[in-house]
Amino acid sequence: MVTTLLDARRARYIAEQVPDPELPMLTLADLGVLRGVELTEDGAVVASLTPTYSGCPAMAEMRADVAARLREAGYARVEIRTVLDPPWTSDWITPAGRRKLAEHGIASPGPAPRGGGPVPLVLSPTRHAVTCPRCGSADTEETSRFAATSCKALWRCRACREPFEYVKEI
């Protein structure tokens, strides 16, 4: 019994350490896409993943990476499940993940908008301030709401003149 518990914790730890393919400074646990790791009664590992965006091309890569790492660690039978509900939110990026993003010049998302009820369309400029991850200035502006990956937007700092990426609230 003790062995099983240790095994489950070890499996979880291994899965948690797998880097994200598109933001490799983050682990899947930092990003909040690893939704659970369990050992079944007959000894298989079941790891649950959720996509950040519906079209995220990294999902297949994440599934393969988690399965491969667990197999390398000696777990012969690994099953990866996709979880769609509840949908991923940028609120699930951990404090450690936010720190690592900042160290790599990527600004972290603010609180995600609350779900439930129709999403209002706001046309007046009500953009919240995003702090420059390089110089810390709040004098920043959005240059494009879309960037190299689905989860990021492009910003620039008016103080230090540097462009930077910003993980969107979702």
Partner: protein, 275 residues
Amino acid sequence: MSDDHVYMTLAEGHEDDTRWAYGTGFEDPLHGVDTTVPEGVDATELASLCVALADDALVSAQRLAEWITRAPELEEEVALANIGLDLLGQARLLYSRAGQVDGTGRDEDAYAYFRDADDFRNVRLAELPGGDFAFTVVRLLVLSSWRLAHFERLASHPDPVLAAIAAKGVKELSYHRQYAAEWAVRLGDGTDESYRRMRKALEQAAPYVGELFTAYDVRDEVVAVLKQVTEAAGLPMPVYRPLPGSGRDGEHTEHLAPLLAELQGVARAHPEATW
């Protein structure tokens, strides 16, 4: 190494989850999701709904992808490609769900690549040719507002898989609508030329808007959004004179078949190919 050709070598060794390049080896996007259809849900109806919503997304994504290398600015190209990618992701999930519930067991590729124009159920607005940037903005504004309103309701659909796909899509579609709305205001309230093009784009889209409201009761929400945006943009609200027929019944314009020919060409020429 059994073949000197680099691509042939790369195509070997598809055991387990190994793949030769990032993003290849696409597999079931609903892998490991509980596929049961709940009691009381009509499987045929559910499958038709999933296919229609997936067709809207796939055809829209293809039109958006046509902007790649042609958009007015790099930022807009990246934005349109990202929006297309979100829609493509929604289409993949919806096709996979349709294949699970309609009893055929078809995968996403069977729906996307091996059906003809008559079998597609997308609304006709999605398939109209790209036109200029103003038309792309108008079309995206109308379609994303409509899809968002629809997905907000589907998030409480009795089928948990469709409900989850919709709940996820709501977050993405909010960004799409925001992008289109801001551009609509900027162009409508911009130069004489951008205003003229926006008016023309609204007139071009108007005959195809009525079709959106035949099947689902989200008309009021969508009209409210269009009113809000056109007022802020100083543009007249378009007058809808619906054309007869509906893409939902498989009646399409002459523009869908060429779009599909480009989309499906490779998959049909090499039906068993893996890469």
